[in-house]
Symmetry: C2
Subunit: 525 residues, 2 copies
């Protein structure tokens, strides 16, 4: 049988395979024609050895070369846009336009180019210099990084092209990408573009490697291997927690994005003032990409009232009237059905939907629970129903709302809608600090589903949304810092220092904390 080759140790080569697989057309359930290998441990071994060498070479590579690679990679992706969109559509059933061609692909190339600009500017590493003691430090490369990409963004979070990839390379590290088995051909095309860009940029060819699929135990073995320095993972909580346990046991940084309900709290004044408009926003946000966004609003909290009941009826009607595209894969549909069942068992009432439909689809689903029910089973009622389903929790009063927020797990986002005339402000003051402590991004009067790729973005949050509340997966320069270690140089001779720590500011552009003051100046020699 002929498989697609893997990208290892500087080139495409036949895999040492333990088996093979084909991706599924989610809309029909039929297997796609291309056959891909499941790599055996021998491929991981090759990747780890090559990445170790690449890490030493990359430490000597100037930031300009890394930036050239990132920009060139973006160009190469654009040059193959038609092919990429075709492949991703076949493998994910996501619409070619606007989603894949006009939103996700430009976002991906935009991320790579933003990362290139931030690498060149250089301040991301927080270079810090104490001239009197001649102690200097910065955030420097951590070493080989393994990146697991998710199923829901074939371009923008792909292990070989997405934000984790851009961050790890930008920080000066080689990447071993583990593609998601839902979209292997898309990943292969992206890896080909990366390869071409490597050749042109002067980076070691071993700086980027890719495997399509692995046995779970080999994934764990890679994570614990002493040659690997850090891990990026986007995917399910179950898989993420297994990798986290393995990484934790050997004290290795692992950055996970696992699950999030993205609670939306709608205060009474807002409901009275503009309930219909918010209902429209909530329904639209829930159904974006069939709810298969990490920031999909899975849990809304309302204080019981006549307006709250009207609001719920309105959202229900909107969900019932909306179209139902296929989900990303048959696994997603199965998990969604199981999660909705868990919510019902835990005391949530099914208002609409809850049933699988032909063509790998699931009826748009809305559930309702009381604050009392939530507080009786907070863990079960925070089960993530990844897909087009959402739960509304109706609490008795502000005090119960506070209790619900205090029992909330860590989330990527939390939104609060309040009236525009300040009537909700006392309630906001009481509840916002509780939500603030449990989310990475706090929104006002806005649904969480737009994740802007910008410096101030935080696409992160407390456990179990991620593994560490200090970091973000989206937004440069902050996202780079996940794949860096703090490197101090104490009395190190000038010619041995990294360029960013030498007396001369490398391009004049880098901000450095010199003797307590941020500055772009050179240090007099």
């Amino acid at each position: 049988m002929s498989y697609h080759p893997v990208l290892l140790a500087g080139g495409w080569r036949p895999a040492q395979a333990s088996g093979s697989f084909r991706a599924e057309n989610p809309a029909t359930g039929e297997l796609l024609p291309d056959e891909f290998p499941i790599s055996a441990w021998a491929d991981c071994e090759t990747a780890l050895a090559a990445a170790t060498q690449a890490a030493y070479l990359l430490r000597q590579t100037p930031p300009a070369s890394i930036a050239r690679f990132l920009n060139g990679f973006a160009d190469r992706i654009e040059a193959r846009k038609v092919e990429l969109v075709e492949a991703a559509h076949a493998e994910t059933a996501l619409p070619k336009a606007p989603r894949l061609a006009e939103v996700e692909l430009p976002r991906t190339t935009g991320q790579l180019r933003q990362a290139a600009a931030v690498v060149l500017e250089g301040s991301w590493a927080l270079p810090t210099i104490d001239t009197r003691l001649n102690i200097r430090s910065l955030l420097g490369p951590i070493g080989p990084v393994l990146i697991f990409g998710p199923n829901n963004f074939p371009f923008a979070y792909n292990g070989v092209a997405g934000s984790d990839f851009a961050s790890a390379i930008a920080a000066g590290n080689p990447v071993i990408a583990k593609a998601h088995p839902c979209h292997p051909l898309t990943s292969k095309l992206l890896a080909e573009a990366a390869c071409a860009a490597l050749l042109e940029s002067g980076l070691p060819l071993t700086a980027v490697q890719m495997l399509y699929h692995l046995a779970p135990e080999d994934g764990v073995r890679c994570v614990t291997d002493r040659r690997l320095s850090a891990i990026g993972f986007t995917g399910s909580r179950a898989a993420g927690l297994k990798l986290k346990a393995a990484a934790d046991a050997v004290g290795k940084p692992i950055y996970l994005e696992m699950s999030s309900l993205n609670p939306v709290l709608i205060l009474p004044g807002a409901l009275a003032e503009r309930g219909a408009k918010i209902a429209e926003e909530l329904a639209a946000s829930c159904l974006l990409a069939s709810g298969q966004f990490c920031t999909s609003p899975g849990l809304t909290v309302l204080i019981a009232s006549h307006e709250a009941d009207n609001f719920i009826a309105d959202v229900k009607a909107r969900l019932e009237g909306a179209s139902i595209p296929p989900l990303l894969g048959s696994g997603v549909a199965r998990n969604l059905a199981a999660s909705v069942e868990t919510l019902r068992q835990a005391g949530a009432e099914l208002l609409t939907g809850g049933v699988p439909l032909a063509g790998n689809r699931f009826a748009n689903t809305l559930l309702r629970a009381s604050g009392e029910a939530f507080l009786a089973a907070p863990e079960q009622l925070q089960t993530e129903a990844f897909g087009n389903a959402s739960l509304i929790v109706v609490v008795r009063d502000a005090g119960e709302a506070a209790q619900v927020l205090e029992h909330m797990e860590g989330n990527l986002t939390g939104s609060i809608y309040s009236d525009t005339r300040g009537g909700d402000d006392p309630l906001y003051a009481q509840l916002a600090p509780r939500l603030r402590a449990r989310v990475g991004r706090l929104l006002n009067d806005k649904m969480p589903t737009g994740v802007a790729v910008t410096a101030a973005m935080n696409h992160g949050g407390p456990f179990p949304a991620t593994g560490h509340p200090g970091f973000t997966a989206v937004g440069f320069p902050a996202a780079f810092r996940r794949f860096a270690m703090l490197q101090c140089f104490d009395n190190v001779r000038p010619h041995r220092l990294p360029a960013a720590l030498q007396n001369q500011n490398p391009h004049g552009s880098t901000w450095r904390l010199i003797d307590g003051t941020w500055s772009q100046q050179n240090i007099p020699s």
Copy 2:
């Protein structure tokens, strides 16, 4: 029986004790007169509940009040200097002068005052503002922090006064300190000073709490309690790993400083040029505080030569001729003897010392192993012998040196001595990148035992020296960032933003990344 009270929920009160203990005079082994409680879980419960409330109050406390507390605390410590030095000397046997009175106490007050200045300046939180999208973020308070202090620095790393404490408070978090049972009276005096400073500063009185001692299982239970947000720990690897496992299982940030051999690599040119001077530096560094520093040089690597043999003989003679003060406690002496025995069993030859002496002392100890022996048992030969013992590994050649470095665990520091005329530079180029990847602070021509409290310091490093290579325990502002979470405010109304993210720069002093450029300017409203 009358115990000293604990500092809980805003004041001194009798402990809910499961037992009691007395500290030991390390020089005589006799128990000191004061009786201290071992807190039962009820005290932890009280502390966690009070810290939760304190966390909400601290979020509304202006940075100026936090700075006032840190400065006032430093003043109060100085006012009680004689008493503090007396207590610490009785409990640790460390010399009153210069060590306690002239070095460690001023370092401690200096840390608190530096932290105050950095809080006021405000840039540590990396405020980031995208005006076009109105997305703003900063590193904000993470919530209640539990700090475990170590035995070896009764002031500068004390859970209720040291660098972890200053960092956690500076970042806006309440602290629950777990004092080290080796120096409870010192800790009580420090906590009294903290209390007095709280009263004057306007901080909630519950912002600082302290327990003297806990059952290990209650420590673990605290770590996993949902009301606790982060943990700082300095101590033994065994205790640290237990707490780390507990924190990891619930996805909670824990910053550990556990153990470090601080390898010193002396290249042949340096040995030929100034071997005697380096031998003097090494012996002095090994014996500083009887080797009871986290940065004590526990492992030296030499390439075999006649000069190397002379160097070893020189170090041995210096250790044999040096005085031998008592160790910090009988536990330290027992562990040191056991570690030296482990090293011998693993193939290290005892050159001198290796025997316990009267008065809780241990003979100054030097061991030697070949590179081959090291590579045959790298784990055992990296056993930390905390105290006045050190191992020299003599490798065959540069290739074997590279292998030894590649088998090195994570360390706080790594030093390389090279000749002053560039003869060692090729060897440096080959070996330094390998050491760089395994240490937090790389030194040239300098022993690791001085840890300057300065912005560029990194007192951190890869596992198992710490739990995460991106952070430092010493040096502000970087050390603050351990006890912070990334907080994004997306479309949040202006009056609800933290001061550092409002259009007006709070004091005009804070550097903020505004639309990609670092600036101290206001944003036009």
